[in-house]
Symmetry: C2
Subunit: 281 residues, 2 copies
Amino acid sequence: MRLIESIREMTAWSKEQVREGRTVGFVPTMGYLHEGHLTLMRRAREACDRVVVSIFVNPLQFGAGEDYEEYPRDLTRDSRLAESAGVDVLFAPAVREMYPKGYHTFVDVERLTEGLCGASRPGHFRGVTTVVCKLFNIVRPDVAYFGQKDAQQLAIIRRMTEDLNLPVSVVGVPIVREADGLAMSSRNVYLSPEERQAALVLSKALARARDLVESGERDAARLRQTITETITAEPLAAIDYVSIVDNRFIQPVDTLAGDCLIALAVRIGKTRLIDNMVVEV
Amino acid sequence: MRLIESIREMTAWSKEQVREGRTVGFVPTMGYLHEGHLTLMRRAREACDRVVVSIFVNPLQFGAGEDYEEYPRDLTRDSRLAESAGVDVLFAPAVREMYPKGYHTFVDVERLTEGLCGASRPGHFRGVTTVVCKLFNIVRPDVAYFGQKDAQQLAIIRRMTEDLNLPVSVVGVPIVREADGLAMSSRNVYLSPEERQAALVLSKALARARDLVESGERDAARLRQTITETITAEPLAAIDYVSIVDNRFIQPVDTLAGDCLIALAVRIGKTRLIDNMVVEV
């Protein structure tokens, strides 16, 4: 596995793959890799001639007072894990390499970014779309893999890719969970043992909603109420949002129809966790 | 010469050029071609294996009350002219092809877009950068050619291309003028014979400023004053702006140093014309 830190070197590598007619699969990450990321890498490994993983803790997608500084980083461990998943190139640029002095360009997706995480993290998705657009141009993948865990992010990246005519197939991969149901996240390391237990309330609330949907419930307000009640029963949990939206434009729905997304963000102590479930009715 | 109207067909063509290792030169235009555009096409023809010209009157870069509806259009004439310049593909998508229902993504360049035309045409450059980003992704050129006539636009597109790591060389081509000095523009057709004569005041004012710079003047305020006096002496002319900025970040300068841009926008009757001059001191 090759470690590349400069854009120039990464671009040269990408150009060579195009010239040689090789397909490139790409997994953009912020590092501190877990089984969720590794699943994306394996998917890329199966489908593509070459696999690139980027590790970049993107300052642009963190707001003031968020955890940019504390976000866990361990490039040595990440390198080992990526190599074990059959990755060909680990692209790990410095911040100044991605945003040099005089940097002034931003990519915005409107409407889809307004609610859910966009409401509580203003500017977050602008940071995400800008860095993903840059990474797509640098790595030039044929296919890019994103976790369904960040469902709103996935819808926004699909939208951007289609709107800007980026020649990349965006593939969403189902959430990978711990044995007890907790969605995998690099931020799970922030949790104390007690909080780790309390964090199960997210997947538990979603499971209850799924049961209701399966027994015929289509009313978004009643589903939200069940989820809210489940979460508020946990003393360590504080709801940021519980939203039911269409899965394409991320707009609130009153009644479930077509592809809907039930998404939640909950603070467990100081740690903000998200989880979601797509329901097709 | 091939006329392509669908993005799918254009993308397939571009992909084939990449596969065959052919270089592509690209000239994005709003059509109603004049000698300025043809000069760009000839430059592309000399340097590249294939030449693509796009014709798209981009609604996104026109403000409310601007001339989107009246903007001159003549695809038959444009096709003939492009073919005579050795163009291989004319890409002329419909508005709904470029901005389908549910379109939500925009590219913004900050700071460089604030002054000059950005101040009097809010949203204009957002429209320009968004459409150029899309066109670059669809056409996948190695080199793209832009007229120096739209100097601020050129600086903004250079900035966007560098910031978003778009794999395109952006080439600026000097202003092409009529024999009497008027910078070529598709909007010159709006001018009555009397206005056409009055419009010479733009290039005349710039010529006076050049004389002053050549005789050692470096003070931006005094240069602006000379330009302003020259233009206001013309009864049909009304100044929109007279600006002296650095040519990279388009920020006002007090004293000429390095690469500076002297740029002006003037209304002649109802027609807004721009002209400029780059001075290297």
